[in-house]
Symmetry: C2
Subunit: 202 residues, 2 copies
């Protein structure tokens, strides 16, 4: 049977990562979020600081070049490519390898787009209202009231710009996902149960 891949895109603070981790644990799937960074370091030979800097980083300037590279499966001969593009190309290769290797949950990084032609890929988007996300981020990271909304908006904008520059599609557009869950209304545990229920049903 084809390996199953669950991709999770998420608004910052919505708990998408936590939901993905619960799903992976319940289903016995591998889980990839920052784990991808280590694999990109191995794949690219670049220094950790460079890879971390350009993780989910938008490259406006080179987005068209990058899009061509991604779609052509460009994988070596880095002469002339920026570090950002080298990181992203390595990331594309790593995500394809991960998806080939076995059942897994992948957080962010445009994985839904990279794997868009694979029928075994189930794409989830997690969102929540600003109040819920702000409270959750403060609970977890201990930040204070005033700046939190700006921080959430900045993070979401960064993800939106990264996704658009890299895929030429709109982040969060319903056409690109099989499931969208409002974690604030539904609850994180229930979101994980719903995803597992759908995957187990197939």
């Amino acid at each position: 049977m084809a390996k199953k891949v669950i991709t999770i895109s998420r608004e910052f603070g919505s708990g998408g990562r936590s939901i993905g981790k619960m799903v992976a644990d319940k289903l016995g799937y591998k889980f990839y979020d920052s784990e991808i960074i280590n694999k990109v370091i191995e794949e690219s030979g670049l220094a950790r600081e460079i890879v971390e800097k350009y993780d989910e980083y938008a490259t406006h300037k080179n987005s068209f070049l990058y899009s061509i590279a991604v779609n052509a499966g460009y994988s070596d001969g880095h002469g002339g490519l920026s570090f950002a593009n080298q990181v992203q190309i390595a990331q594309v290769n790593v995500i394809k390898e991960i998806a080939d290797a076995g059942n897994c949950v992948i957080i962010g990084r445009g994985a839904d787009y990279i794997l868009r032609d694979r029928e075994n890929c189930f794409n989830v988007f997690i969102r929540a209202d600003m109040d819920f996300r702000a409270k959750r981020v403060i609970d977890i990271y201990g930040e204070t009231g005033k700046k939190i909304e700006d921080r959430l908006k900045d993070k979401d904008t960064k993800r939106r710009v990264f996704y658009r520059s890299f895929t030429m599609r709109e982040w969060g557009a319903f056409e690109n996902y099989n499931l969208m869950l409002d974690s604030g209304r539904i609850g994180l545990d229930k979101c994980a149960d719903i995803i597992c229920g759908i995957i187990n049903d197939k």
Copy 2:
């Protein structure tokens, strides 16, 4: 306890209506789709042909006026208003009355927007890929291959334009929904089960 309202927006052919009907039957909720038309006829005193013509109909020209009317709770003194606006204003009043009356499922008609300030409202969007929807529409309505994609696109465009002109928001934008389900991937029965599971959990 506050009455629960489930609104269902849907791409044409995705089965959103059928899913809504299953949910209403399982939960013992009232179900409103074309039932709204009868209530709008009573409310407005307009002829059936007029009400049916302007059901989920976009009024580009008067959308700003309409938006003001909706938000001000404008409900009588129709002098100078087009039939389209009269139908839509009656529809807004009918949807608010329905939501006040008891637990219910409401299909389309911008109900998510009309009821946006109510905490007891759970907003669902149902989508599916073109192939799934085309096959489903042909199975149900017996139409043939060639024109079906155009028909689906026309219907979706009509709903999108209606929604935008009437709410000043984007149809299907994730911020406006608590749940989005791809009925082609998940299956209609399972979609209904997921919605019931969430509502029963609360």
